[in-house]
């Protein structure tokens, strides 16, 4: 029987794991340890429910319900001064929990503080767009849609941004292989010539790692080397056997050596 390979996460895995090794956690601090964050958190928790809040490496992390994202970001922007959405994207947890985690990285220039707002949605759920609050979310959400296939409601122009419009699959999902799937392999052929040309062109033409045994112009056949572009069926001449009697290293003869004058 073939061994079962998981399909939901095809990323590279570590080949060796110590059975008894438990990964430590990046230290989390209470929100109260920073005055400004404590005040912001207090003000925020009055508006909507915050599931969890802690400090991690000097930045506040807020975990919220996905349907509150616009309300909370609006409060953070308008009342608390976090007016720059410097980054947002998603993390794929489909294999573990069947969910995506979406994070919004906010910056307040007056307070010099950074906050990360995180929420989770199920695979087929959509998230509300925050483009009306931050214009930068326009492109970030498009990128998130492109890379993960997360639908964004109320987005003005939800369209793939990095991949071509007719691309199949979402590349940053853990289930998408690093070298691309079948549609990626045949993308140009399908588009220019049509699917029926797949058989005519042949899969070996679309495989970057393919090595032809009859091609002596581009590949050397190890231990059966022939001159470049020679007839692949011809066997190479035998290499002369190594002379065992000759010394491996010639002794250095001082009398025959000559010192080059480098000062010239």
């Amino acid at each position: 029987m073939r061994p079962y390979k998981p399909k939901k996460n095809v990323q590279k895995q570590s080949y060796y794991n110590d059975r008894f090794w438990v990964a430590p956690r990046v230290p989390q601090e209470a929100v109260e340890s920073d005055e400004i964050f404590a005040e912001d958190f207090k003000s925020l928790s009055k508006t909507r429910k915050v599931k969890e809040a802690y400090l991690e490496r000097g930045q506040m992390v807020l975990i919220i319900n996905a349907k509150d994202n616009v309300t909370i970001l609006k409060h953070l922007k308008e009342k608390l001064g976090y007016d720059v959405l410097s980054e947002m994207s998603a993390i794929d947890y489909l294999a573990q929990d069947g969910e995506f985690e979406i994070f919004y990285q906010l910056l307040s220039m007056q307070k010099r503080r950074r906050v990360r707002v995180k929420c989770r949605i199920k695979e087929n759920e959509a998230i509300q767009s925050v483009e009306s609050l931050f214009r930068s979310a326009d492109w970030s959400e498009r990128e998130m849609y492109d890379m993960f296939g997360i639908k964004v409601n109320n987005h003005p122009y939800l369209k793939r941004i990095l991949m071509p419009d007719d691309w199949v699959g979402h590349p940053l999902r853990k289930s998408y292989p690093l070298h691309g799937d079948e549609a990626a392999q045949w993308y140009e052929v399908d588009k220019i010539f049509g699917k029926e040309y797949r058989d005519i062109i042949g899969p070996e033409q679309r495989d970057a790692a393919y090595i032809s045994t009859t091609d002596t112009c581009n590949f050397a056949r190890i231990k059966h080397e022939v001159p470049r572009c020679a007839d692949p069926n011809s066997e190479p001449e035998r290499i002369e056997k190594f002379n065992d009697d000759a010394p491996l290293v010639e002794t250095f003869d001082l009398t025959k050596s000559k010192i080059v004058d480098r000062t010239r």
Binding site: R57, E143, I161, L162, L172
Partner: protein, 410 residues
Amino acid sequence: MQQRNRLEPYFENLVFERDDNTMVINFGPQHPSAHGQLRLILEMDGEQVKKAVPDIGYLHRGMEKMGENMIYNEFLPTTDRMDYIAATSNNYAFALAVERLLGIEDKVPRRAKVIRMMLLELNRIISHLFWLATHALDVGAMSVFLYCFREREYAMDLMEDYCGARLTHSAVRIGGVPLDLPEGWLDHLNWFLSKLPEQIELYEGLLTKNRIWRMRLENVGVVPPEMAKSWACSGIMLRGSGIEYDIRKEEPYELYDEVDFDIPVTDRCDSYGRYLLYMEEMRQSIRILQQLIPMYKETEPYLMAHAPEYISAPKEDIMTQNYSLMQHFVLVTQGMRPPVGEVYVPTESPKGELGFFIRSEGEPYPYRLKIRAPSFWHTGILQDLLPGHYLADVVTIIGSTNIVFGEIDR
């Protein structure tokens, strides 16, 4: 979508024959002043842009995906290929993010920090010179290009003397730097720093009061402060709009809190203001570098952090001590395993805020690696910035946003 002739290009949302007298122009992706692979779909009314849709992705290599399939040290040279004009700033941003995730930021030796800062500021000068050269070339000032590339060559020679590479440096490692400065490098740097200010004056003499230059740049590409904030602009795009925020000053990393330098700001908001800032930032970089030279001489000769769990021991230890060799073997073959957690680390790259978001699940491979490249949003802002401008100004605006496609598409 199947078409009759599949080789004929098609554009989904575009109509070429329209009743309203507008014309649709496809600007790029192969255009000399598109700074790489930018495709702009411009709807023109005569000479004026009515609507602009930037189209990116022609240089997409999937670096985030690659990062998830590589151990941390393996990924570092890949970051060179993002902002290839200033490769060290990418290496450094990634190394700093991993160091902060590991919690060994304070263990990096002082000499390594000084060398990293020298490389970063040198890269900033290289990047700004390159920007000035290409921007002036786009606008039409050919000679500035030649002068700038001459000085850039001296700076690249310094980088080459240090790490052997001119464009893709990989000169920073997680936990320090691999090499000490070669002999005589500081003298060369000093010579370069003494020559550069008069060269900057030369460029300014050619451009600052030049009537054509001012006509092409003044009141072109005006980014109001609200728009800059809303589009998450950073770096000179932000400071050119009158908002004083430099991550080196506000959230200092390395030894930026120990050196004395100013953050130039202007509230002109236009391309000309940004040009002035680039010139001033080069001077400030020179100032930082001049302060770093005496700082280097006071440091002790340690280059890599001592954190045996994550960072290999120095080469002598590996060759002489059994345990160091074992650890080195594990770190090279399996990779370091950072603690579970996530970190977002912003740095001030020559283009703006370059940040790395890393989610670690305790595996040698990052679970999620998101690169926050400043040029991505500086390209996005074009769709709000270009309408109303003339076609000739499009080139100026693309130039003054200083975008690099290696980091937009990643």
